[in-house]
């Protein structure tokens, strides 16, 4: 992929003219948000994979994480890299596109085509910046429900996702219990912890400290707070990994040298790696979207809408749940998943719970972790049988 520096930054192209399918809602079809604003007009960009069956009973909605996008299993138009969940989604994969109709929409507030602070779909065709209303995970789910309506799907066979995606899964199960046959919240929590809010606040302050942020008006001014956003990403990235994984990958190895330089260069591999993570992130993500989406996670506290009792969020649920956590995930530790499981048990729900042993930290949900693939395959196959969905015959595979 060659890219000329003269062309506009790709992140802005995808925010405005996404290469995905886009469902548009006009001024009369506004989206009611938790903050009280009715967002209109608005739009949602999405990808689908596989074929919806005649019963419309084989749809899987995948919900992406904070800086993820709808490009689950196709080349990402911004980065030119494979989709973020190609380990899980595709022909013969756990979310088998020979068998299921897989949907993933860019979340509200993001920057890959769905309405957000960087999209120019408001009045006057300007990027809305901080005039875009602050959205919640529930708002994201409301937006997805409008898409699912449009696709003519009454009940989703499964809603699945990791991290912020897992928050959306839980919100789906609570807001639309009858529309969710099965649900997989992975590396998630029913509420964001104080420590996680703290890390997000550091990231937001890093962005806002960058003078190129211009109180959120940088797109109008033709600039971007790249340094601040890179620092935010670096801090966040550490939280996605684990101490053992960092030790295993980098230890105290020097980068292209055998001794310290006694300077502030990136002497250590881990420094060089982090700087790269910061640099590459700013090429693909909008800084204001980062503010909005971290905020939505901070605000997430599912029990708060149910008298503070999480079990009430799942009262009478018939959804089949599979809750997954990872031993080395310190951002969304197993205790967070266990709290979800306890609430589901208290609500009399059907739930299986798997804690996967890995040193890969929170990022494990994105990586090729065999036990995650097996767990997903097993859960989905059993749910499909319960749903009366026939398995794919070998001969039918392309």
């Amino acid at each position: 992929m060659t890219r000329s520096h003269a062309t506009p930054a790709p992140v802005r192209n995808e925010a405005d003219e996404p290469s995905s399918e886009v469902l548009r809602f006009d001024a009369t079809q506004g989206l009611e948000l938790d903050c009280g604003v009715v967002l209109a007009p608005w739009r949602i960009a999405y990808q689908t994979y596989g074929t919806l069956n005649a019963d419309r009973s084989n749809a899987i909605l995948l919900c992406h994480a904070l800086t993820g996008d709808q490009h689950v299993a196709n080349v990402n138009p911004v980065t030119g890299r494979p989709g973020w969940w190609e380990t899980m989604v595709g022909p013969g994969k756990p979310y088998d596109t020979d068998r299921f109709f897989v949907i993933c929409a860019n979340v509200l507030g993001s920057c890959l085509g769905t309405s957000g602070p960087a999209s120019r779909d408001g009045e006057g065709g300007k990027a809305r910046g901080l005039e875009f209303p602050v959205v919640t995970v529930r708002d994201m789910v409301r937006a997805q429900a409008r898409l699912v309506d449009h696709l003519g799907i009454e009940t989703l066979f499964c809603v699945a996702g990791g991290s912020m995606g897992g928050m959306q899964v839980l919100q789906w199960a609570a807001s639309y219990p009858e529309r969710v046959f099965s649900a997989m919240p992975i590396a998630a929590a029913a509420k964001h912890s104080a420590q996680n809010i703290a890390f997000h606040e550091v990231g937001r302050q890093a962005v806002m400290a960058d003078p190129e942020w211009h109180a959120g008006r940088y797109l109008e001014l033709g600039t971007r707070p790249e340094k601040g956003l890179a620092v935010a990403r670096m801090a966040a990235h550490i939280t996605y990994l684990s101490q053992p994984a960092l030790h295993r990958k980098f230890g105290r190895n020097f980068q292209d040298r055998t001794a310290p330089t006694f300077s502030f260069d990136a002497d250590f591999e881990v420094e060089s790696y982090l700087r790269y993570q910061g640099r590459s992130f700013v090429e693909r993500f909008d800084a204001n979207s980062y503010l909005y989406l971290t905020r939505s996670m901070d605000y997430f506290d599912l029990a708060a809408d149910y008298d503070g009792v999480l079990a009430k969020a799942f009262k009478g649920t018939k959804t089949r749940f599979c809750v997954v956590s990872f031993t080395s995930d310190w951002l969304f530790p197993t205790s967070d998943s266990r709290a979800i499981v306890h609430a589901l048990n208290a609500a009399g729900g059907s739930v299986s719970f798997v804690e996967i042993e890995t040193d890969k930290g929170h990022d494990a949900f994105l990586l090729d972790v065999p036990e995650l693939l097996e767990t997903t395959r097993g859960f989905i196959d059993a749910a499909a049988r319960a749903r009366g969905l026939a398995p794919v015959k070998k001969a039918d595979r392309a």
Copy 2:
């Protein structure tokens, strides 16, 4: 304390004209540094408490942490607040100033009077900024040894400190084994982990991303990279606490409101607290010093000077060690302390090891943790008996 905005920032006063005692070395008395530079002229600022006995055998050297200072047990001249270790140091306290002569020096590279990037003791009387050589923990200890020489002390009764202070303790025991009768490395490590280097790098990048940093020349230009330094402090501060402590102190409580504002204000108490931590830090600390001191910790790997075998650093040691860690410290976890203990055991050293149960995280070494006080008192009393130091009679106390 009233302070006019017209007066120069206090941090610069203390960097240049410290209220502490200062020992000055001229051009002929340079300090050889690990980077190869001979630092000259240079100076070291320090505080003492109590009285050196006739044998000069009752001196305790306390080593401060990254953003600490020499003001252990007196009002801090910058902040107007009590000394940072008043729980531990004073008459009748574990480091009993009725009994011991307690010394604490500002570390090399810091900004409270010892030579560092903000001190105007180089050529031309300018702040040296990034022209100041990058220093190591061993360099800090070399500087302290020159002070201890000056004070006429051959053997220190004890060297103690937490975090970066604990690194200095370990370096003292390795570099000058015959001069250290007893040693207390608290919440420390013999080498800085990849994760810790990563967090430090985020902090440095935050400082350097601030345009007011001006490649380290901000003091010449009459400005300071306050926003970047505040972000660095916020990120670091999270690592000093623990998830349970943050949950206990703040949870998801709102700050002066009962519902979210759907904005980027500090809705949550934890956000407000972190912003305060950032703001107050920049009033007392120099941004370049922050770069230098984080770097010195990153470079710390005691075993590296001994063929990679930590036990060799303590070969033949006669020093009595007390190693202390805290259960909820994830920055310098107990496994780091255990590695020190294993090396001391392998070297045939005398070592006791205490892991203290607390949810206060890394910061526990600075706080009023009864088990730390008791452990220290017990260790110091036993060491004093072994050293032949008489206990203080009740009647002798003022």
